[in-house]
Symmetry: D2
Subunit: 306 residues, 4 copies
């Protein structure tokens, strides 16, 4: 269970079968840094081209297509004290013909990120949000594994391999599962957000560079169809597609499969449990592929199995 420290010297704006920057064993922990969505690092300097640049990829020894990669998000820590966001909701989350009332200027907002106080505070533009601290809720916007058949998929979008899901539930302490699609899995990570509403409706999440620590574990011969996750209380499945309906279909089907294959429920029990108690959350409705998340409480699954 080695703990690696890696300082990136290059980044990728497509998730693919790039040359690995580090080879690690299953169970190893990696501490590294991520730049912000625009390529800015801890000093604020732009060190790479924009578009959710990814740190990595990290090669996990022994990983093969058909396995599952477990990624425990041990620590997500902004490594500078300012972040930026858009200052307008995206056109595609509002009604056709809606006029924002402040022109076409999307604008850009600057935020103070205070990890000690655990707050995010608007510096500008000047309005009644300015200077009022909001909670710091660090999350990873874009991460995943290299896709199959030689693909390299833009970090603007997402798919079965993960990618730019922008789900604000991917926070410290969560374990995320990705399907291994190529040898070594080739894990990428980037696009830290200090605070993002559901759906990333303005296309941003107080974009910050981060110090990140995560543990990669290989689960051999367990095949999953879509990213899954679990936190202290819930099982989570993720669907990435358009329209949102299809995200829900993917996430729900994946949850049924998990409950049946992973927790020994009958299909009928899984259906009935979801009918009564399932929850959904909106990952993003901004990126080329949208994201919806399906959640089931672990306690409910446990009670059913008892």
């Amino acid at each position: 269970m080695a703990h690696h420290r890696y300082t990136p010297t290059q980044y990728h704006v497509a998730i693919g079968s790039h040359a690995p920057v580090l080879r690690v064993a299953s169970g190893d922990t990696i501490s590294t840094t991520t730049v912000d969505a625009a390529g800015g690092d801890a000093s604020g300097a732009v060190v790479t081209a924009p578009g959710n640049p990814q740190t990595g990829p990290f090669y996990v020894e022994g990983a093969e297509a058909g396995d599952t990669l477990s990624v425990k998000l041990d620590r997500l820590h902004p490594n500078r004290d300012t972040g930026f966001s858009s200052a307008a909701l995206a056109a595609n989350v509002l009604d056709f013909g809606y006029q924002p009332g402040f022109g076409d200027d999307v604008g850009r907002a600057t935020w103070r990120v205070d990890t000690a106080a655990q707050t995010v505070t608007l510096i500008g533009p000047q309005n009644r949000l300015t200077g009022k601290p909001l909670p710091l809720r660090c999350m990873v916007g874009c991460f995943g594994v290299a896709p199959a058949r030689g693909q390299a998929i833009s970090t603007a979008t997402s798919g079965e391999h993960g990618g730019n899901m922008d789900y604000n539930g991917f926070v410290e302490g969560v374990t995320v599962y990705f399907p291994v699609l190529v040898p070594g899995a080739l894990f990428h990570i980037g696009d830290g957000h200090a605070l993002q509403g559901d759906g990333e409706m303005d296309g941003t999440g107080v974009e910050v560079s981060m110090d990140v620590t995560f543990t990669l574990e290989l689960i051999k011969q367990r095949t999953i169809g879509w990213p899954r996750a679990e936190n202290a209380t819930h099982l989570i499945t993720v669907g990435n597609a358009r329209p949102l309906d299809q995200c829900v279909q993917h996430a729900t089907t994946e949850m049924v499969r998990w409950l049946v294959a992973g927790y020994g429920l009958t299909a009928r029990e899984a259906h009935m449990l979801l009918g009564r108690l399932v929850r959904y959350e909106l990952g993003n409705m901004f990126d080329p592929a949208y994201t919806m998340v399906c959640k089931v409480a672990k306690a409910d699954v446990a009670r059913l199995r008892s």
Copy 2:
């Protein structure tokens, strides 16, 4: 502020400009009963044709198109001790080609509804959910006001007028706002659910008949575009359409309008608040029109205005 008691003798499976069963003043409270989705009453007898039969309509004196009707859900109380649900998720919430593994039999489940214990417990079919109490969470599946231009809209679906939204946040204590579209507003209510997961993914919500009490209040010359609601903590807007993307567009646009016109935020402030802190919930993904809900914490709005 009269308190009316009304015992229904007929029901409607389309929400429209039917003859009112009661005329009330703004501020009046009504106690009545609703049958379950299949037309069953407190005794379990089927007293009307199935399909979310509605009690009403109730005519509010002075209500005109362009006004808003406020409906406070004072009490939602199952008036019998059993309910039913489907026993299978709907085909349209799962991947194309997915095979449920228990054949095409949707099945029907029977539940014990215990209002004293505040539980819902599966009676049958027999599996590991059977006999294990789940929380009672009473909600209204279908309610709303008569639509414009002489329409009568099926209680299977929903629209600007409300209808079959199947949002599990419409619980006791919530105030729901509907746009008044015809003289008297003509409020309808029915389709009580004792427990429903997000999205009503199996098309049901432990269907029960209920005793309901609600207070109708007229807000003159306030025009809204879509149903709105508020509970103790949140402002809520509702979009009913297909696909889910469009629900989100309607609900989000309506929330921006509410924050601007109702709470004095600038459009820029409203956009920025949503970008950081908005929440979404899935009403239903079963009915002909789906439902998504946009939520903003009242505390966040208050802080911004302070």
Copy 3:
């Protein structure tokens, strides 16, 4: 086979179980008039409220739910020499954030309709389209039968009952089939277009009042799920929904059903025929429910059965 002449004195902007204006026998022909989408008649006078006002309904003796109503469009003839259209594509058919370049002014265009020359010619606004004759292609935008369960459905939209499909293939000579959903079928017709592009992308079709003649025939005990049609060369099925994907699903499924139940193909033959030779056309992408049309050449069906 009587030939009725009916002069309308009222119109409906929802298709529903209104009092019939005429009762006819199966096989009878009706000649009547329709006003334009804005309620304008042959003289150009606005005689009723706008929104695709319908002439009718016409009650067909003996029609019951589960039957099919055949509507042969014998004659569609503009009865005045001008029509109008929008002068801008609708926001929802263009990319989010697209700026038309001529401001938000949708504008209104006026057209000369010349039935002798069979042309439609732009009178204004003045640009390089003005004065250049385009072909006259008369069609019915909105027609259908009363929906089930007491509904009255706005003539802005469409469904299983027909309605505002705005398909430019509904021209003179075509026979359209509607599912009978209420006693008497209650056929409505209106919204004549002198020339409309695919999809009614600007929301209009050179809107004109018309003299119309059609023959209503009852097909007992044949049940269909969606509107169907046939012209000299093709079988046509119609799906009305959102998004367009769902229109295609409805229309394609209905075509398979038609080929199997109506033409004796095996399901496998129907699938294989469509895979090789099916055609689709875009009815409208403007109304609340969109429309896609599935087409199969009669010659291809005949060859397969020979």
Copy 4:
């Protein structure tokens, strides 16, 4: 204007910045071969992994991002006498819950391809389609240029760069335009179809290997957003996305841009022309991204400019 002959020795199942197999000048013509969707060559031998393997890429000297690549399809000629297709429509083009009636077996059909007689004839399975010649209509299912930002996009899907559009209008004689996104453009081609219905509703198009000849021409400093094409009679724009609504939005917006920037129409004229005379066709509704095509008659554009 050289005429190159290239015999492929390798293929790609993602369109990306692979090493070019040939470098050609603008105006050069290339004759080569393509394998079928399953990797089968002229002899029927499977020579590469399945999934629309691409021949190429071809590097066009001088091509830079921001240019346009013109691809004239000079010749599309099946180079063997059999092809295959699915024998069932895809689940996602039919209604949820639809049961095909022949079980879940998609099946596979074999076809005789007769280039002399210009026919395609079903060999098996045995049914009433068997032995009856259908017209040979050769088309290219999947072709395009390397995408930007280091992406390699699966040949299962499509995007701004082209890809698996499966539009049955991409036939011999058509000129297709792709946006150049990387140096050299890097043109790929494969996935020949001998006969495909609209929408590729069964996911196949009588899959055949082909001899292909095409001419690549570079149009410097003309930037387009989506694939465009023209045949003898029409201008064509292509939108690739989900749902179909979004395909239409992309294709329509691209057509407006073309008419304005390429043909000197005002935006108002372009809007009004489309409103009256635009046509749409369904490329595919099978692949991860669907395809819709927008068409305008050249004669209509010419008349407007005269």
